[in-house]
Amino acid sequence: NLNEEKRNLSLGGHVGFDSLPDQLVSKSVTQGFCFNILCVGETGIGKSTLMNTLFNTMFENEEASHYQNGVYLRPRTYDLQESNVHLKLTIVDTVGFGDQINKEDSYKPIVDYIDTQFENYLQEELKIKRSLFNYHDTRIHICLYFIAPTGHSLKSLDLVTMKKLDSKVNIIPIIAKADTISKSELHKFKIKIMSELVSNGVQIYQFPTDDEAVSEINASMNAHLPFAVVGSVEEVKVGNKTVRARQYPWGVVQVENESHCDFVKLREMLIRVNMEDLREQTHARHYELYRRCKLEEMGFKDTDPDSQPFSLQETYEAKRKEFLGDLQRKEEEMRQMFVNKVKETEAELKEKERELHDKFEQLKRMHQEEKRKVEEKRRDLEEEMNTFNRKKVAAETLSLSQPLKKDKDKKK
């Protein structure tokens, strides 16, 4: 009986299965890790610079134009290595976001992209012969939403977009270019943003507090959202150190100085503490939701009317057959339609041909008639000419013997 209660037994000595986590780690290090970041924010807000700052490297990037007709997503994949850990990092940029005069459809390409990555994974999962361990997972693990530092509140576009994304991806909102907001303004701004998100039911990613080791730091970080960040790849000498900073006439903003901005907090949370949790949440929550909705759409249920568990494979095969059958029928229909159309057109053409032929015949007849008439006229004319000539000759011979008849001469 599998439903027997579990018993806790004590061990008589060291067995050694406490090395399991190490084995797991060793395996995953060999496999390499994969992480996908989506950056959503208006053109020029600092997405590329922040990525460069976070990963301490210069990813290639051209400055985007403000005059794109719509939003399009640009994914770029990089292979990074730190110690012996390989990371396949994909950064997806939203080009043209926020530039159009009418932004009602701006969120659509983003949602479509996220769904497509889920769909690709689902397809792989449903294959008969699949290789999930080899599969390059392109599902978005984190969406960094860049909020413009107006100091007032969210923009209407921000609210609309985050509402469309919060059920599909982990969102961490950040305040970009935060070196234009003073401390007191920042405090009010953060409170206003969070209250707007809450009152509109937008679910952002919460750093997990269920794991004892990190619950404290995660809880305190949750209270600092949204992170106010400043990015820079330029280095400035401060004291006897060289740090990444922005140099202004009135002072130097240091990226890694926690009293200047929340960059360090973001890096800590995003990369050093919760990266794995983000991947897990994406797979266990967002992807599962997508999968369930998609399969329900296709007509799958967990149990059939007799409360027997459905075999996914059986149902899938049945659906496939149905689908193929549909396709074939449609093909037949179209072929039939095509054949009919061809027949129709043929008939029409034949009719037209006949008409033309008739017309041609008629014209030919008319032409022949005309020709005949003209011939007649010609003959008449010839006869007249002949008669006239004869008369002329007659007159001439007459005039030779009668030189005084001048009138007749003149008539020629």
Binding site: G46, H66, I101, H152, S156, R246, S259
Partner: protein, 376 residues
């Protein structure tokens, strides 16, 4: 010479009459050299008025800048909308009028605000309420000017529009271009780079160059400072040149006073330093203030009256005459002056039609000729 001292000199010149003392001694003194003083006296008695429009997305610091410019608080009980409320927001026009006085000179200042501009998700034609407002003021003035009793005409025409460009992008955005193109022939536009304290000096230069390039490229006619007179001295000309090369002005505003370098100044306090609004190495606020208030306020009014308003008026009259010609009824109380010279456009049209007629006539002749030949 210090830039500020030069600016003061400039102001002095504009206020004091230029008296040619040398010539005075030669001829007998008539006395009309006091005219400028008389103008000055009368204008102080009459008082001045100025209407300034501010436009730009929410959160660009427009209200803060206006408060900093006029050293007063016009927006005490303002209520800002939430993101949710702004999704479908329409643009409103709100006027604040204040009477301020300085050294006996009275100024009736009207600030026209445009809350909601660019804040909705769909901003198609969001500038229409603004252009309509400007046209309405022109129309009102046109009626008043053509009326019988013109003693107390109120001039509500917009003399200047400060347009706030966000500093977060790489240059002008489509909504900026469309807005300026819709308004550049109705009002003097002065584009500004808002919240310039998020840009390093290099970034500011790059952005200014880019914006000037794009303004040229899109054919936007922003307000041009009038050319210097040729008899001004070199310093003045240099100052003027610097001013023109500095556009669009990168501004910072502040509602708070902070302590910096032992003085109390308007500024913004950061953990890494203090931004002083009136420090010329921090931003162009001083240049903007001097230009807008101390040297070019009257020129802005003149250009509005002589160029934008006159364009509107001429267009209005032409539309009326063409309508009347169709209606053939004298309804309008405004006396219609006959157009002395036909419009360039109508002339072109007439020419085109003439040529068409000629061509048709030729074709007809040709056809007639052919028929005639055939007959023969």
């Amino acid at each position: 010479m210090d830039a500020i001292m030069l600016q003061e000199k400039l102001v002095e010149r504009l206020l004091c009459p230029r008296v040619r003392t040398a010539r005075q001694k030669e001829k007998q003194y008539v006395g009309f050299a006091t005219l400028p003083n008389q103008v000055h006296r009368k204008s102080v008695k009459k008082g001045f008025d100025f209407t300034l429009m501010v436009a730009g997305e929410s959160g660009m610091g427009k209200s803060t800048l206006v408060n900093s410019l006029f050293l007063t608080d016009l927006y005490k009980d303002r209520k800002l909308l939430n993101a949710e409320e702004r999704i479908n927001q329409t643009v409103e026009i709100i006027k604040h009028t204040v009477d301020i006085e300085e050294k006996g000179v009275k100024l009736k200042l009207t600030i026209v605000d445009t809350p909601g501009f660019g804040d909705a998700v769909n901003n198609n034609e969001c500038w229409k309420p603004i252009t309509d407002y400007i046209d309405q003021q022109f129309e009102q003035y046109f009626r008043d000017e053509s009326g019988l009793n013109r003693k107390n005409i109120q001039d509500n025409r917009v003399h200047c529009c400060l347009y706030f460009i966000p500093p977060f992008g790489h240059g002008l955005r489509p909504v900026d271009v469309e807005f300026m193109k819709a308004l550049h022939e109705k009002v003097n536009i002065i584009p500004l780079i808002a919240k310039a304290d998020c840009l390093t000096p290099n970034e500011i230069k790059k952005l200014k160059d880019r914006i000037r390039e794009e303004i040229d490229k899109f054919g936007i006619k922003v307000y041009q400072f009038p050319e210097c007179d040729s008899d001004e001295d070199e310093e003045f000309k240099q100052l003027d040149k610097e001013l023109k090369e500095c556009t669009p002005f990168a501004v910072i505003g502040s509602n708070t006073v902070v302590e910096a370098r032992g003085q109390r100044v308007r500024g913004r306090l950061y953990p890494w330093g203090i931004v002083e609004v009136e420090n010329q190495s921090h931003c162009d606020f001083v240049k903007l203030r001097n230009m807008l208030i101390r040297s070019h306020m009257h020129d802005l009014k003149d250009v509005t009256c002589d160029v934008h308003y006159e364009n509107y008026r001429a267009q209005c009259i032409q539309e009326m005459t063409s309508k009347l010609a169709q209606d053939n009824r004298m309804e309008s109380p405004i006396p219609i002056l006959p157009l002395s010279t036909p419009d360039v456009d109508t002339e072109k049209l007439i020419k085109m039609k003439d040529e068409e007629l000629k061509r048709m006539q030729e074709m007809l002749n040709k056809m007639q000729q052919q028929m005639h030949d055939k007959e023969q």
